[in-house]
Symmetry: C2
């Protein structure tokens, strides 16, 4: 009979893997994909470089996992806000603000997730996750139209536009990051998103 | 005295290089960055694979040149339309339509330039060229505000949003590409861009 890992061994492995991915995410946020070498990540996790390969066959596989976990979390948070109770236009505004505020609070990670040059495997994940953002925005825009709060439009196109627009604005935010400029940027970004969806300007 | 190439030799080299880049661009448009190997590109150009390295030190260097020429041309075309005579809002609409129409007429190349997973060197170029699109759109939005045709806004943020929005909509256009759906997409895209900049809806 082939050797099988005990439940305790599996749990230990999973914990070690989670720890490694969490440390790798911090390294990527700090130095970017290119500089986040297996050695740098292993150092941060307090393990030998060789041990990284117990969990991931390659640096690219680890990078993909870092991307998926971090982006998956952002998609979840956005989905919760967009799918909360109430007026679809208000939810859209809150969703854009929440997403952007989180990105601006961890600019290094946001840049890595949204735009930083990365290996093609990460680029492919980026495209896949963008489709998830698009689906969430499309749902909210459709609800806004159904409620008569947004004018007739192809919700899927507006959703794609919102996804691209928000990402691009956050890639290279303007000016030096201080609290005042961050709040001003959020106000402009939400206003732009509402205009893009055709919401009537706030009275 | 060191050997120097004669003017005739330099011209011949430049012509060969131009030919190689043009064929490589066609290969990238057809099969994408990953499949556009040095061998595939050399075959398309009718030269030996080794000869590619007379012109470019690496596949990445060739890819960067393909990207720069093709994107440089798109930036130029967009700049010409946006900087033509007349009403800034009309120029913005024409610029978006021209850019998108060109992309939809060569979807393979547009996808490669805008979004396809590529080596990091191409990713870095993509970010640099996006700043050029942003600068062009910002200029037009500022002119629209100055003319009283667009409401007060941070033109740089709207410009970033337009750049990201248009790119994302074109990355994965909806439905099967036929003439009718292309025209409908262009109408939606231009309408979205004008809303995004806050232009009054056409009467």
């Amino acid at each position: 009979m082939a050797y099988r890992k005990t439940p305790a061994e599996l749990r230990r492995l999973e914990t070690a893997r989670d720890h490694l991915v969490a440390r790798a995410t911090e390294v990527v946020a700090e130095v970017g994909w290119a500089q986040a070498s297996v050695t740098a990540v292993a150092d941060a996790a307090g393990i030998a470089a060789g041990s990284v390969y117990q969990h991931f066959p390659s640096k690219a596989a680890l990078a993909v996992e870092v991307f998926r976990r971090a982006s998956g979390h952002e998609v979840e948070v956005l989905g919760e806000v967009l799918r909360a109770e109430g007026d679809p236009v208000e939810r859209l505004a809150r969703g854009v603000e929440t997403f952007a505020r989180r990105a601006l609070e961890n600019r290094g990670l946001a840049y890595a997730l949204l735009a930083a040059p990365a290996e093609p495997a990460v680029g492919a994940e980026r495209l896949a996750y963008r489709l998830r953002y698009r689906a969430l925005f499309a749902e909210t825009v459709e609800q806004g139209m159904a409620a008569g709060l947004l004018p007739p439009q192809d919700g899927r196109i507006t959703a794609a536009a919102l996804t691209g627009a928000i990402g691009e604005v956050l890639v290279d935010p303007l000016g030096t990051p201080d609290e005042g400029s961050t709040e001003a940027l959020l106000v402009e970004l939400v206003a732009m998103a509402l205009r893009c969806a055709g919401a009537a300007p706030a009275p």
